[in-house]
């Protein structure tokens, strides 16, 4: 059997039968309910907190209850568990009200009054950079920055350029809308704190919160419960729930639970970073690109948390699937008084990939060239240098993938037949996604371990920290082990991780699980197979990640081979726009992806469908405005995600391109599938209405404004 042949997902039946328990489906004996008290202003000082008389058993937990350090240890530790005197964004945690009766708790909660001394906030990227209301960070509101330059000095290139084209492209906030809202419980079992959470990264949680009580990570157990979607929104964010819960459990000695409502979740959780990318491109007199300069600014919000890494990835992808003789970029993470932004499928890459595709289309239209022909000439190839001045070390099969998409979509005929501005349009985008942690991060920072256990006279068990959140990993990983061991995959045990039982194999993030952890399991299984064949039983095999030699990376200068393998994609989208209502209808979606060699084509198919549709949502209906520090769309009736009626059945194809360091040749793919559809969609809309579009999202009201040449609501 080829590993890519689909099998039935291990988790599907129980989920479809409604038997799988998510956090809110569990009952914890004697658990207290809790409500988060949060800042209602974007910037200021807390003057007073007025509490109603609290009956016995009810209590407001605040920073004063923290015996250790008041910080959540994400990638940086600047985000406090509870605000002390200053608040920097709407939604910042001030306290946790806990108590035994849900209704009474709510009544008491509604009577709490917080008095503030308000200051003028900075909300947008421009306001943050201009230090509106006075800088609140580092004197300049800059959380982080980096610069990269490849090839000839770009200033020299500009000085001899025939023409220089500038363009600014912006993208907005995006909410994850995992169908299961954030939820966690902290309790004590046998004298140890145990956290149950809907989360991607159980090991991140214990590391992040242990310092609150002055404990070591090992002193806390984190158990993942079945997770109803995450998309990056449950990578670091669960720490924001688990920190206060841990303190409350410590203070009260009781289990404490917190389950967000939907409005609460949308209004008070991390988002995809809004971005502003400015390009400055040097052309010769024949319209060839001599060099491209860019400035990439991400709205980080009040705390840095994981955002420097997000910004880095954004900068590493700013030239997309192309290579130009000279490239430079400067990235800035700006501090504003908005809810901090964090991981979201693509982790900074979608913003710059949207920008570069849109810019390439713009250049082609200025030069009067066919956009596809224009872009094709610059597609990066094996051995060529990326913007970090390290080579691509794999075959790039974009041309072959393009052929598949052209054939399936009828792109060539349609792009001729649909005149610009005719109401019909077809668009196309190239995209990629660097797999796993950047450079040598997997060996320098993560150091993943996995264990494979052969129980004496019994089954094989996988022990690792990787979580299932819908992406199919519990099936994929079992399949990898089973295929090597030549046993049925359903006999392999692989439970939701419990940090006291499994080794730390790194976060379930960065499209690394199959590519990196899958390969560790693959290697462990090979070893196990040899020993079983030699008659051994009742033993464990442990494998540890080693970075291949010969692909240097310098994390202080960001120079070298940023990624050993990329996922690659081509996507075409066709739209038709009602000229009267400006309502767009997606008529077709065609895709081809290089994911190495797929572990299970049906699982991959589901990832492609979900990622592509989520990307179209980001570009089209998912408008999320922040007005004066408050998110304006906070329910699913005004924050609009795609429904089954919004996109037709899409065409899904692959090219085979086995990756030498992946299990059975597999690479990462979960994020890749998100990275291109927004650009293809906007290209299609832009052709259909005959306007240059350089900001997303474009819900139909905005399309209407473009059609009427109105600036108003853009």
């Amino acid at each position: 059997m080829d590993i890519k042949d689909p099998i039935k997902r291990m988790d599907a039946l129980a989920k479809a039968r409604g038997e799988t328990k998510y956090l809110s489906d569990y009952r914890f004996e004697g658990a207290l309910y809790s409500r988060m008290l949060r800042s209602s202003i974007p910037r200021g000082r807390i003057v007073d907190i007025k509490l109603p008389a609290l009956p016995e058993g009810y209590r407001l937990i605040t920073y004063k209850d923290i015996p250790g350090k008041n910080a959540l240890q994400m990638i940086t530790a600047d985000w406090p568990c509870f605000a002390e005197t200053d608040v920097k964004f709407v939604g910042e945690t001030i306290g946790l009200l806990v108590g035994p009766d849900r209704e009474l708790l709510q009544k008491l909660f509604d009577q709490i009054e917080v008095e503030y001394e308000a200051q003028e906030p900075a909300i947008t990227i421009a306001e943050g950079l201009a230090c509106k209301g006075g800088a609140f960070l580092n004197g300049n509101n800059v959380h982080c920055s980096l610069s990269l330059q490849k090839g000839e000095d770009i200033e020299a290139v500009f000085s001899r350029a025939y023409r220089i084209v500038e363009q600014e492209i912006t993208t907005g906030f995006q909410e994850h809308v995992y169908l299961e809202t954030n939820a966690a419980v902290c309790t004590k079992e046998d004298g140890r704190f145990v956290i149950y959470a809907s989360a991607q990264c159980p090991f991140y949680i214990r590391k992040s919160v242990c310092g609150l009580l002055g404990l070591k990570p090992d002193d806390i157990i984190v158990r993942q419960t079945a997770t109803g979607g995450a998309f990056g929104g449950k990578e670091h964010f669960p720490d924001v729930l688990c920190g206060p819960l841990l303190v409350a459990c410590y203070v009260t000695g009781k289990p404490v639970r917190l389950v967000f409502g939907r409005e609460e979740d949308i209004a008070n959780s991390v988002k995809r970073h809004p971005s502003r990318v400015r390009f400055k491109t040097a052309l010769d007199k024949d319209g060839n690109i001599l060099g491209m300069d860019s400035e990439v600014v991400y709205n980080v919000g009040a705390y840095l948390a994981s955002s420097f890494v997000v910004l880095q990835r954004g900068c590493f992808h700013v030239t997309g699937c192309y290579s130009f003789p000279s490239e430079r970029t400067k990235g800035i993470g700006v501090a504003t008084n908005t809810y901090p932004s964090c991981a979201f499928r693509g982790f900074g890459a979608p913003q710059t990939l949207f920008a570069i595709e849109t810019h390439m289309n713009y250049l082609a239209s200025l030069l009067g060239k066919d956009p596809l022909e224009f872009k094709r000439r610059y597609l990066i190839k094996k051995g060529e240098l990326t913007i970090t001045s390290g080579p691509i070390i794999e075959d790039v099969k974009l041309v072959q993938m393009l052929e598949q998409v052209l054939k399936a979509s009828g792109y060539a005929e349609k792009s001729k037949a649909y005149a610009i501005g005719s109401g019909k349009g077809i668009g196309l985008a190239f995209y990629n996604h660097g797999g796993a942690f950047t450079g040598n991060g997997e060996s320098a920072i993560i150091k993943a371990h996995v264990k494979l256990v052969k129980h004496l006279g019994g089954p094989v068990e996988i022990l690792c920290g990787q979580t299932e959140m819908g992406q199919g990993f519990q099936t994929a990983l079992r399949k990898i082990a089973a295929q090597v061991l030549e046993i049925p995959p359903e006999t392999v045990i692989y439970d939701n991780p419990d940090t006291s039982r499994v080794p730390d194999s790194g976060p379930t993030a960065a499209s690394r699980s199959t590519m990196v952890v899958g390969n560790l399991v693959y290697k462990a299984a090979l070893d196990m197979k040899r020993r079983i064949d030699a008659g051994e039983d009742g033993f464990e095999v442990e494998t540890v990640y080693e970075h291949p030699e010969g692909y240097p990376w310098d994390q202080s200068t960001f120079q070298g081979v940023a990624y050993l393998g990329y996922g690659w994609g081509v996507c075409a989208v066709e739209v038709e726009i009602d000229k009267r209502t400006a309502e767009p209808v997606v008529k077709g979606i065609w895709t081809s992806h290089d994911v190495g060699h797929p572990i299970d084509e049906l699982i991959c198919h589901g990832q492609v469908n979900g990622g592509v549709v989520q990307g179209i949502g980001w570009a089209s209906t998912e408008l999320l405005q922040n007005i004066g520090g408050h998110f304006k769309q906070t329910s699913l009736s005004d924050y609009i995600i795609p429904t089954s009626m919004d996109t037709p059945t899409m065409s899904v194809e692959y090219v085979d391109n086995p990756y030498p360091w992946g299990p059975f040749g597999a690479k990462g793919m979960g994020e890749l599938t998100f990275n291109g559809s927004a650009a293809a969609y906007v290209d299609a809309v832009s052709r259909a209405i005959g306007k240059t579009i350089n900001a997303i999202p474009i819900p139909s009201e905005v399309i209407m404004d473009y059609m009427l040449d109105k600036e108003a609501s853009r």
Binding site: R9, A12, L13, A16, L179, G261, Q471, L602, I603
Partner: protein
């Protein structure tokens, strides 16, 4: 107030405020946690159940409207002939990812196929348009429902 209704084919009775949300009664009083809460405002469909055979979002239904009626939840339909065919098609067809929307989807599919055993793709898309799914992009859910329809003799 004492409220009697038929739950998954069994006559039951609870003493509760008739304005209690049906979803809370199902999940908390009867432990039927297959019905999920995704939005609490009738937008996501995760809490879908059948009230006298009609599709409703149980987060918006007051318990009082169930008086003397029949309520079917995922726990009630999963072992019926139609329910198990749908669930089997979902599992084989890659329709299930995180799973949180899925019991609601199964209920919607059940409601559709009960009245229209051989729907077109458009009819399937319309039937599940009140069920939001953030993971799948819907294609494999749609094809799985069509597959279930084919398997209905």
């Amino acid at each position: 107030m004492k409220i009697d209704f038929n739950l998954n084919g069994v006559q039951v009775s609870v003493d509760k405020d008739p304005l209690s949300r049906l979803i809370d009664v199902l999940r908390e009083d009867f432990g039927l946690t297959g019905t999920k809460e995704g939005c609490s405002e009738g937008e996501c469909g995760a809490c879908s159940v059948l009230l006298d055979g009609k599709l409703v979002t149980s987060c918006l239904v007051p318990l009082g409207s169930a008086i003397g009626s029949r309520v079917d939840t995922i726990e009630g339909i999963r072992d019926t002939k139609l329910g198990s065919i749908i669930i089997e098609s979902f599992a084989n067809g890659g329709a299930v990812q995180c799973g949180f929307c899925i019991p609601g989807m199964v209920i919607s599919a059940y409601c559709l196929l009960s009245s229209n055993p051989h729907p077109t793709e458009d009819e399937v898309r319309l039937a599940i348009s009140g069920n939001l799914c953030r993971c799948t992009g819907y294609d494999l859910i749609v094809s799985s429902i069509l597959d279930a329809s084919r398997r209905l003799a």
